[in-house]
């Protein structure tokens, strides 16, 4: 696969002709497919953004990168797949009315959320809380987070084996309308709209409610928040739970987009991209997670077109991440939840 990307010069003499470039930039392909790639990228980006919120919220209150969040997400995917399979969904799209499908999908999403929330809750209780009680160092938290991530992966491996779950197709995407000659289908529309609604709801929850104020207070100054009567432990659990709910929603959309993508270590790559999205937008920043997610999704797709191979999706996204961080070390929107105005 990589061989098609690299005009391998090994076979050639030392003087390599200039037109035989190392990497071929396929600008034509990018320009021809620009809009479809944009909308498809936004769809993936919406999924990254939902996962990214889980990283960002927990980082906001704990200054901890919860590496196990990728497993919180993949557990949600298992919840979604199990539910849909037992409802009779399989590799081919079901022959159901639209309302029956919507009902089933909502049910699957709720189960996915329960799987994710329970996972997040257990990770917080078993892994992080005991460390907090002992005032452990940041390094101890980091190692624990990685350990939790791998433990859950191998637990899933033990139960489900090394193969991906059989594909579940929810519905066949139908074209809805065209923008700049690109067809927007029902799947893209569902995912992007639902994800944005959820993210706006989360943002408003944090801005307007009492618990939201508690989250912001703990993020800005945990001791003073406690002096105000905020139960810090409960706020921390709440952020894990919110992250779990959003990861469960992301799980439904991911399975919708990639029906056969549920595998024990399948959270890893998505988790890394979502984490990159959170950092790109400004870790700890709710709106930044949305922006970062959408950008990572879109840029990845452009990179794939430009360089002609899906392996490059990730690389290009990370190159952009590094460039952004060089210019703005705190991410595009900075750390809103923690420091500046929220």
């Amino acid at each position: 696969m990589l061989a098609t990307l690299f005009s391998l010069s090994a076979a050639l003499p030392a003087s390599v002709s200039t037109d035989n470039s190392w990497i071929n930039f396929d600008v034509t392909s990018l320009l021809q497919n620009f809009w479809p790639a944009t909308f498809d990228g936004l769809t993936f980006g919406a999924i990254y953004a939902l996962i990214a919120l889980g990283y960002t919220l927990v980082y906001g209150v704990l200054n901890l990168i919860n590496f196990a969040h990728s497993e919180v997400f993949i557990m949600g995917c298992y919840g979604v797949v199990f539910t849909l399979t037992s409802l009779g969904f399989g590799p081919n799209a079901p022959n159901l009315s639209i309302w029956a499908i919507i009902f089933n999908l909502i049910l699957a999403m709720l189960v996915g959320m329960v799987f994710s929330v329970v996972t997040a809750f257990v990770v917080e209780r078993v892994a992080y809380r005991p460390l907090r009680r002992r005032g452990a160092s940041r390094l101890a938290f980091l190692i624990t987070a990685l350990g939790a991530s791998f433990s859950i992966q191998y637990l899933i491996f033990l139960v489900r084996g090394s193969n991906a779950e059989p594909a579940v197709t929810m519905f066949i995407p139908t074209p809805i309308f065209q923008v700049f000659g690109a067809i927007i289908d029902s799947q893209q529309l569902t995912i992007v709209i639902a994800a944005i609604v959820m993210m706006v709801a989360t943002d408003q929850y944090i801005r307007r409610t009492r618990v939201g104020r508690g989250i912001r207070a703990v993020a800005q100054d945990p001791d003073t928040a406690t002096l105000m009567g905020v139960n810090k432990d409960r706020i921390i659990v709440t952020t894990f739970v919110i992250g779990g709910i959003l990861a469960g929603a992301a799980a439904l959309f991911y399975v919708m987009k990639v029906p056969s993508g549920v595998i024990y270590n399948g959270g890893f790559v998505l988790g890394i991209k979502a984490f990159a999205a959170a950092v790109l937008g400004g870790i700890g920043n709710v709106r930044g997670a949305l922006l970062g997610g959408l950008l990572i999704g879109v840029i990845g797709n452009y990179g794939q077109l430009l360089l002609g191979d899906s392996q490059w999706t990730d690389v290009v996204a990370f190159i952009v991440l590094v460039l952004v961080l060089l210019i703005r070390p705190s991410g595009l929107l900075g750390q809103t939840l923690g420091r500046s105005r929220a």
Partner: protein
Amino acid sequence: MTTLLELKDVVVGYGRIEALHGLSFSVEEGEIVSLIGANGAGKTTTMKAISGLLNLSKGSITFDGDDISKVKAHVRVARGISQAPEGRGIFPGMTVLENLDMGTYGRKDRTGVKEDLERVFTLFPRLQERRTQAGGTMSGGEQQMLAIGRALMGRPRLLLLDEPSMGLAPQFIKQIFRIITEINEQGTTILLVEQNANQALARAHRAYVLETGTITHSGTGRELLSDTAIKEAYLGVA
């Protein structure tokens, strides 16, 4: 008078370093009690022990007749202990109004909250003028007002003030102390930690002197003001 707060043989440490070595003192309902001492004497540690941010390794703290040594910090706030911490602890990303609102976090009585907000705005008109400004952009003196106002929003029975005069200009210090007396006259018991011993003793009903984790002197504010040893050590009078 009834005893509102009582510390008995309180020992608190940071890891293996002991900061308070068996501290005992009390605050009666309705009093202003000042705790004075040099840098590193253990004043802030005492405040944190009372509010529950630090655990006791020995001794007990009684509030309103109940042993609260094992009660969680956020529950102590609901019981009626509010603190304006050292360094003020303003939430930088929240507006003045949101900061004040944080003081009511554990409260459910909306009408009472409204009354208290008016009371705070009467005590500190500046806060009302600046209510939409971000807490982090307020001046030091304004932040101190905000910290005290925010603590009052919890409608505390006991108000803990940790160095309210720190970093303030002389005329501002006078104003803050005048307001502290006013708050006390409105019925709130106050425990005041200060390095500005002159003002703290003049305003206090009773006072304690803390030296490296132990109480060395106690008496009425007036008594301590005229004590020669204290004059030399804390009042800058030779």
